[in-house]
């Protein structure tokens, strides 16, 4: 990424954060603890870890671009200061619920759906459809789960070589999804480290709990053999489940078939 563009996007981010924070010019006077001065981080694309909850009500409205989230009277914006709009009502409600469930401090690291929407709206890594598909398909070479046809198992460290035909079929299948769904797909593949498991989730063959278990088979085996450490194993398991569930839900809600179904149900 050329350095000029990076500087520009960083400046946009700083400007955007000021708008998102919507701080009065005087600045908060009686504030306690960390909130007193929020240093705007100069990292490329990351919000501050925790902030105090600054809104009472979260509501949803429908604009021309889709559904919008309102925190009190302010419209939610992405980190790059674009208006936050989502195509699906269910997704908007889920995002609103994420914001509404924050108490005292806003824990951004738990708001996976919001993060996914922000990534889709801003596309900070500026990847197009082909690049996303390629990133996801790259995991095919190291996939340890197969319910497949032609791909045999391998005992070498390099893994089995994937026939070109298989790769082509997969690429064309993924190409049928829209940009938003692809962001979700790439996200889930990265979390589970497996294309097969992600496809299984997209086709409703596996539940999230099952897929996560299969993704962590090695770890589960070690836990059964050597013992279980709550503050590490459970912690990571819950986090992986949360991220995967968010990604899978995001994929489903962003794929066109969902909106068609919704109309069917309304009859």
């Amino acid at each position: 990424m050329p350095s000029g563009a990076m500087w520009r996007s960083c400046l946009c981010l700083r400007h955007g954060w000021r708008r998102l924070l919507n701080r009065p010019p005087g600045g908060p006077t009686a504030s306690v603890g960390k909130r007193a001065s929020i240093p705007i981080p100069f990292r490329a694309y990351a919000p501050p870890a925790e902030r105090k909850r600054f809104y009472q009500n979260v509501t949803i409205t429908q604009g021309e671009g889709g559904f919008e989230i309102n925190l009190d009277h302010r419209k939610l914006k992405t980190p790059q200061a674009k208006l936050f709009t989502v195509p699906s009502e269910a997704l908007a409600i889920a995002v609103a619920t994420e914001w509404d469930s924050q108490q005292d401090t806003i824990k951004f690291y738990t708001m996976h759906l919001t993060t996914l929407c922000n990534t889709s709206l801003d596309n900070p890594t500026q990847r197009n459809k082909d690049q996303l598909i390629r990133a996801a398909v790259k995991f095919l070479d190291t996939d340890t789960i197969w319910y497949g046809v032609e791909i045999g198992s391998s005992t070498s460290i390099m893994g089995p070589s994937i026939p070109t035909r298989t790769r082509e079929v997969l690429v064309s299948h993924l190409a049928s999804y829209n940009m938003w769904a692809l962001q979700g797909i790439e996200f889930v593949v990265t979390q589970l480290k497996s294309v097969m498991l992600t496809l299984g989730l997209m086709d409703l063959h596996l539940t999230v709990e099952q897929a996560v278990l299969l993704s962590r088979l090695e770890e589960e085996y070690q836990i059964q053999k050597w013992g279980h450490v709550e503050w590490a194993h459970d912690y990571e398991l819950r986090e992986l489940r949360a991220r995967t569930a968010a990604g899978v839900l995001f994929i489903h809600l962003c794929s066109e078939s969902t909106t068609v179904k919704h109309k069917l149900l309304q009859e």
């Binding site: 509501t59 949803i60 009502e89 269910a90 409600i93 889920a94 609103a96 619920t97 509404d100 469930s101 108490q103 824990k107 738990t110 996976h112 759906l113 409703l204 063959h205 596996l206 539940t207 999230v208 709990e209 099952q210 709550e230 503050w231 459970d234 912690y235 819950r238 986090e239 489940r241 949360a242 569930a245 968010a246 899978v248 839900l249 489903h252 809600l253 078939s257 969902t258 179904k261 069917l264 149900l265 309304q266």
Partner: protein, 113 residues
């Protein structure tokens, strides 16, 4: 197809999660948009025929996924609070670990301002 169990159980789980989420705030969980949407979606989904309807299964799958999301986030935050959220111990607590007590000097230590 994934084994999801009865939809009623998924709905109960979802309502329970909503209840936990809204326990901290004053508002009853029945007022939330999520509650209304879920109840309406489950009601509508019940009306369709019981045959192997993929749309029905897909909705249940999404509901189960959302339940997994809510539950995992809650448990993750709870684990974080319990194990990683405490911050540093104070000097008194650290000394207490090995059974020592900090000295108490009425005049304060000489080198403190």
């Amino acid at each position: 197809m994934a084994a999801l169990g009865p939809p009623a159980r998924t709905l109960r789980g979802l309502l329970r999660e909503l209840r936990y989420m809204n326990a901290g705030t004053g508002r009853p969980y029945r007022d939330t948009a999520a509650y209304r949407y879920l109840v309406q979606a489950f009601r509508a989904h019940r009306v369709t025929s019981e045959k192997l309807c993929r749309a029905q299964h897909e909705l249940h799958f999404q509901a189960a996924t959302y339940l997994c999301l809510l539950r995992s986030v809650r448990e993750h935050v709870a684990l974080h609070q319990e194990f990683h959220g405490k911050g540093e111990r104070s000097v008194e607590e650290a000394a207490d670990l090995v059974g020592l007590k900090l000295p108490h000097q009425p005049g304060g230590k000489g080198w403190e301002p």
